[in-house]
Symmetry: D2
């Protein structure tokens, strides 16, 4: 089994977030920066579901620093709604990892936003480093397992 043989797209993890009053702005809907925090909740949930919790990665002295964010907003989210965050691992290299997101309104499944986050691995001093092989292996194995479960 190699990374290439794993269908990363199939390994989707869903997590629900009840919209917080504090996440809205004076337009009456959720502020667009909140979605970026939801993406983060999504990838944290993905890693946990994959058996490689981010707390362990951080505990080993590594972080996945964000190098890029893309978000496309399709519909407004409102206080009282619940957002369903679907996350999948989009790319996994020795030094880079990328997640893709789809946000839907739990009530009617309406697409709220899509997005991507790109990351590099850094050590506690913020220096770029390789993702520890054990982390790569566990993320990879988790993706395979999650993908086969669907």
């Amino acid at each position: 089994m190699t990374l290439e043989s794993v269908d990363l797209k199939a390994a989707v993890v869903a997590v629900d977030v009840e919209i917080r009053f504090a996440e809205t702005d004076l337009m009456g809907v959720v502020h667009h920066a909140s979605y970026i925090v939801w993406f983060e909740i999504g990838r944290i949930a993905w890693m946990k579901a994959a058996g490689m919790p981010y707390t362990e990665i951080a505990g080993s002295g590594h972080h996945f620093a964000v190098t890029g964010i893309q978000a496309a907003y399709r519909a407004s989210a409102r206080f009282g709604d619940t957002v369903q965050i679907y996350t999948r691992l989009a790319k996994l290299r020795s030094r880079q990892i990328e997640f893709a997101y789809e946000l839907r309104n739990l009530a009617d499944n309406a697409l709220l936003a899509t997005g991507v986050s790109e990351h590099i691995c850094v050590d506690l001093e913020g220096r770029m480093t390789k993702i520890p092989q054990t982390v790569v292996d566990r993320l990879f194995a988790g993706a395979a397992l999650l993908g086969s479960r669907e």
Copy 2:
């Protein structure tokens, strides 16, 4: 003078933001979602400098809802640093407006991030609408003025 004849790239507005302790995360640097809020500060400052304050746009019953965000993170920002946000108007159509951002560390001019935000005009009920012609005209005139000042 037409919109096409105005060099939007030349109309850059700079605003400084002192980094808040609350904007950092456990990695010891600024959380990536804070940059998205800084982009917003940048475009608000741009519109104010251009003579078309966002408070007036909102007061007239319109909002520039965010439809897309792209951000590329180049270096970490830290508590104690001051970020210089350079904003320019990247696109202005009858229904769309787009801003581009460059964030630099005031101390050493190091590039922290670049980004783009795309917007459509909506009314108070969130329905897509044309940007009021007077708003387009004033933004356009402001861009011309700001560009010629450089």
Copy 3:
């Protein structure tokens, strides 16, 4: 049955919140302002459990504007932890409402913080107004029900 005869202290609603990475700061623990947002999550959950969802109050053109916050921080909360927010209605008058909070670490039940929020009722223009009688009645009935359930 009168308001005075209801033991408001008995009507406690618990809600769990997984700590977000974005809620931490460079001290490595949760930023203290995040607890204020958790209080809000607590009272929203309380009202929902009591059968008087805040979305309905807002929908009727009223808001419970915050007039006072007190928070006592006892222990740090960390990314990876889950916070259990216990909320009770502390006071209910014709124009005022007050909630009390107790935050505990789900893992070991350690007390993280206690707090109180005081509110007045305002209309959509922000003018002080009486809490609609139907809202008072439903909150009161909800408190009685929740209290008897324990």
Copy 4:
């Protein structure tokens, strides 16, 4: 000169904050948790003005962890407004420090909120510790200087 002989109340530092769009909520005004972040901006500014920047305190391996917050909200703040944060050192002990805040609308001097934050000194592991004597001395000298300047 002793701590008791310094009139801490006289040492007030003012800092202006332009309200961010992201700080508002669906009530159309600034969310109450944002004021807690403004308090933090106020005390950071106070320490800087007093000649004992918080970056240096943190750099020496200490933090002023928040143990208590009280806030009284008097008037709403709106996007487009500028808030003037007045901060003074309210108490300074070997292990505790306390700041008091007054927030005013720059445009009309209207009182927006008052508040207090209580802190203990902790080391990088979060253990309670004495405030380093040099920090106490410099804060104390700064307060004396700021107070005499008024």
